[in-house]
Symmetry: D3
Subunit: 256 residues, 6 copies
Amino acid sequence: MYLADEAWPDLESYFESESLALVPLGSTEQHGPHLPEATDHLIAEAFAREAADRTGYLCTPTVTIGVSGHHRQFHGTMWVEPPVFREYVASLTRNLTSHGIDRVIYVNAHGGNVPHLREVGARLRQEEVAYAIEWMWNDSIPDLVDDLFEQNGPHGGPKETSMIQYLEPALVHDDRVRDARDGGVPSVDAAETVKHGSRTFYDAADNTENGVLGDQTDASAEKGERLFEAATDQLVQLCEWLDEQPFEDLLPKDHV
Amino acid sequence: MYLADEAWPDLESYFESESLALVPLGSTEQHGPHLPEATDHLIAEAFAREAADRTGYLCTPTVTIGVSGHHRQFHGTMWVEPPVFREYVASLTRNLTSHGIDRVIYVNAHGGNVPHLREVGARLRQEEVAYAIEWMWNDSIPDLVDDLFEQNGPHGGPKETSMIQYLEPALVHDDRVRDARDGGVPSVDAAETVKHGSRTFYDAADNTENGVLGDQTDASAEKGERLFEAATDQLVQLCEWLDEQPFEDLLPKDHV
Amino acid sequence: MYLADEAWPDLESYFESESLALVPLGSTEQHGPHLPEATDHLIAEAFAREAADRTGYLCTPTVTIGVSGHHRQFHGTMWVEPPVFREYVASLTRNLTSHGIDRVIYVNAHGGNVPHLREVGARLRQEEVAYAIEWMWNDSIPDLVDDLFEQNGPHGGPKETSMIQYLEPALVHDDRVRDARDGGVPSVDAAETVKHGSRTFYDAADNTENGVLGDQTDASAEKGERLFEAATDQLVQLCEWLDEQPFEDLLPKDHV
Amino acid sequence: MYLADEAWPDLESYFESESLALVPLGSTEQHGPHLPEATDHLIAEAFAREAADRTGYLCTPTVTIGVSGHHRQFHGTMWVEPPVFREYVASLTRNLTSHGIDRVIYVNAHGGNVPHLREVGARLRQEEVAYAIEWMWNDSIPDLVDDLFEQNGPHGGPKETSMIQYLEPALVHDDRVRDARDGGVPSVDAAETVKHGSRTFYDAADNTENGVLGDQTDASAEKGERLFEAATDQLVQLCEWLDEQPFEDLLPKDHV
Amino acid sequence: MYLADEAWPDLESYFESESLALVPLGSTEQHGPHLPEATDHLIAEAFAREAADRTGYLCTPTVTIGVSGHHRQFHGTMWVEPPVFREYVASLTRNLTSHGIDRVIYVNAHGGNVPHLREVGARLRQEEVAYAIEWMWNDSIPDLVDDLFEQNGPHGGPKETSMIQYLEPALVHDDRVRDARDGGVPSVDAAETVKHGSRTFYDAADNTENGVLGDQTDASAEKGERLFEAATDQLVQLCEWLDEQPFEDLLPKDHV
Amino acid sequence: MYLADEAWPDLESYFESESLALVPLGSTEQHGPHLPEATDHLIAEAFAREAADRTGYLCTPTVTIGVSGHHRQFHGTMWVEPPVFREYVASLTRNLTSHGIDRVIYVNAHGGNVPHLREVGARLRQEEVAYAIEWMWNDSIPDLVDDLFEQNGPHGGPKETSMIQYLEPALVHDDRVRDARDGGVPSVDAAETVKHGSRTFYDAADNTENGVLGDQTDASAEKGERLFEAATDQLVQLCEWLDEQPFEDLLPKDHV
């Protein structure tokens, strides 16, 4: 069920019987010469909408602009500062609870959002406002990702390329995947910006000239479909697991 | 040009030659028994995308969740607190300027966002970061709105109903427009919640039982089209006017 | 009853039997070549003190410096930033409740304070701390204002001029009212700073050279007296209405 | 020169030739059974206005509500939280500088404001925005205070009582000075709320039943006049000293 | 008992039976040519650890960096801004209460921290989170300090010199005490930076060239030992007094 | 060179010739039944002091209380909220630059601090205030850690146990290492609190009963020494690398 399509009276029965919501979050940021800036929010929205369709759980509109300051050197990257992102997500989550939601899955497709969503989730749980957890599709299917790609990226690599080739093929510049690979770096390690255990880079531009990592020529819509199906399946299971938990079990444990 | 569809190298020439961006903003909130909660953000996005298409100016993704706490009593309304909304919009606007944008039109379709967008715009201008102004479609065509409707609402009234009937007809419950009218109030005045010059109401629920005002039976897709065309034309002209101004002329005047 | 004149034991019986306070708020900002910068806070204080005298309700000291950054180009304008104003008013209102006040009228005479007082009032009500509403004298008597003046301003126009001519005649430069009119603009419309529905001005200086609008030659102390009496009467009625409401009825309505 | 009484064109020559402003600050808080809650802001305003009159320097309106949470247990005390007070004063001071003010004297009559005004002043100086210092009348004439009173209070004691007897005699309940003394404590020491070097009290109510300290029977309007004249003289000298300093000399010293 | 040395199971019985904690706080800032920058935090830690050892109460790790911006001109001074310091101390105190602590002594050895610790303590008490008070060793033994030294400083004077000579003699440059005296000023009065009752200085560098006040040649380890013993005795008594109080008696008094 | 031991004149030559500082940061939090709560800050301090001794670079005092709310259920854990920690570290780093420091290594030994130190570092670099990077000892020697331990924990596991056995043997309860292992879990995986790719745990108590992970019986002081020597060597090299970089090269790259 997609919240934004509904008139308010039609949401009443959902909130009476259910307490789970899926909130998609991504970014609008450079994804190399071949992928659209929308990449992350398209992926997040696709997963959240699909899982909502398959399960009947509620999906909210997508937060399209996230924590992407580390891509600022590339044309078109949009972002908000980390404290602002946290407050925006915290505020909308907190307010969702006024309708009876008490558990939320942040269906996230942007690595840069992760620590912030975890911080927000920890705070809301500690305050016993809601139990909100972050889910990122590739973390749910690490073995398949490893099987499919030699150099998966991460940012703008074959993993994300395959996904957009499957979800929004018209937005991929297939004729640039070779350039994407050749103009970027195979991996963070290859960029040699970790010194003696310290990550000495802060921006994508510190690692790579064209903004992306991995071997994009290894991508395909077919792989995208396999990834999408496998990860959607994981998300559906996560929804079901979460729905089954008594709210008390989701709250912080007592002091020893 | 829609920023999120583009790969970063394809945005370079725009930022070299242009400095204007359209940012659509709406809300996700109850709009009565007949309209989707997406109403405001659908309208904002439609105007911004259309004006961008017609003029070639850049349109960013839509901010879908705004200041809607005053609709909290109705199922599904989502919102962020006013300070959070202001910081979110200020942060993304401020950061857009890193690419060369120095003038922004907030294509807004939610009255509740107005004072906050004005506050953000005033601050950014005072700091000489950017010149950002708020535009709301119905304010640009007051005479046409008056001509078309006896009781225009505002919230969830025939004006917005016509617009969604035109833009997203599948999301309107046409069979409920009579109920929408009969279960709501004709206008804020009719709700009698202004006492001796003081607005004594804070929430939509203080004024109306079903969340909407005006006579929705007066709406039609044809009227929606007329409104959309007329206001788009205004927005296009606003873009052109804004583009023509030297940036110095947009900055605060000197002290007398 | 004026709080600041009393010794604390003499306030006990008021707080035991009553729960309403009038808080005057204005600005210290330019009001053209003929009016004092105190204009708004003098007017606010006069109404609040008069209504308190006539009804016996409590009046607090006046907040004299408000949100006036949009008058910054004119000598002497003082202001605080909007978030600071909101917190100042919210904090003093919140703390007033420690003595038993649960309803407050912000007797306001500065348009620039309005959205901020509404925001504070909404928050305090939502938190069930207090029910605080904004009242501005001219909004309570729109017909009389229309009857008395062709071009009422608003800022520094004949409406406010009449009021200061009545309340503090020594502070009006009567010999400059013609200059005030001729050096300003008749109305916001006449300044032509609304473009295609968008308010493209942020500062008073964007609209007018001398800081004021309207036809000040139309002002008189007699008109000031009529305005003062009529609006005071409205404020007295508002006090009485507010006092009669059970506190529960002033709180936010339940979720539908 | 009192800023609020002036029309903006009449302030131009002041700002062209001078850069100093006097900002009075006090509190609205209980001052025992005999003094009005306005005590502190009346005193602050009287000094600032008088010094401005004698010297020609600019005086602004008074900040009447300060940091008085420690008097919350007594009817009618109004206050704002410390961070809010600091931001309010910092914001209005910062903005005053837009007209050419670069040095400010906070003419303060409330001890509870002192550390906050010092913090604000330090910050503004460090940022090289303005040089603002706190002045409290009794600190400028310690010997005279000692000469005139055995037990001077401080809060609501004979010092402040004498001052209001002189400045606003109608607001003093002279028939309650004996009660004020007998129902309070002679001094903080006498309250025995300092334990082993630690101030274990936070509120006035921790020290005294009626909110005041000292021997109020020792007060008189004559003493008030002597205090007022002596301290005004100090304030005038402070204005003159401050005016003479080159702005560079008022800024922070360089790093050694 | 020193919290940081213990494994968590070994703290259980303490928290079951006791509710008091000692939190040492100091600064890392210049203390003249002869004393280490650690001076204040060494002293604070020594008192807190000693009192904890003698009484069995719990001592936490030391907050070593405080509010020292006023020493910024001297090499090596470290500091945090006042609002940050307050939040840091408030947050750690608030969180200590999760284990059962409800009363805290801030064993403080830096004057610049005092108003901030008082502000934090007042807030936590008002919220009924904890009762936390500030204790500074020299305030507990004023007579002894007066007896031992003609010119005690305060900053970097013989009082603090004696203390470090006793506690950490290896860190004192005994051969520089004469220079310390001759290059500094005897007292704040002697610096003549109080004008007409107003403290016109903000930084240590405004008063003194080498950063210190008083006559350091008057210091000795023997005096340090006397001071340490006498003040430790006071702190022990304060712990005992505080421990004896029912928590209700430590909370704010009721409204009169 | 240890900043806190020095008198200010003795730091002058360092700041004239060098611009690097080591800032140790840890936590005070439960580390199982066998390790002291100080574990992380002892380790951080040991590395920073040792590297400073070997290289001559400056080491500051240790921040002992960090982001440890996720250990709140265990007696004695101290923490500050994440925004407070970030501001505290940002403020002290920002201020260090007043003496000429422009590059900082956060010698960190607490995983919970990592994202916050990265956020602070990114902000300070973006503002071109300083280049500050986070270093955590075990990240610098992943192969050795893998070689030495089967199940390294992380929290309170054999890695940290070995380190404290080497650095502060008196603080380890060697007789409890078997209990530590048997009462905890071998790894996060073993706790089975990652569901379908989502980390569903927020607190240590969600994963383990006694607060620790890994096989502590595998620890020894000898291993601790090897770890300490190897990681110190890495830190020394990091210092040297960082010192060699021109400051321009450490700043953010230009926009493409």
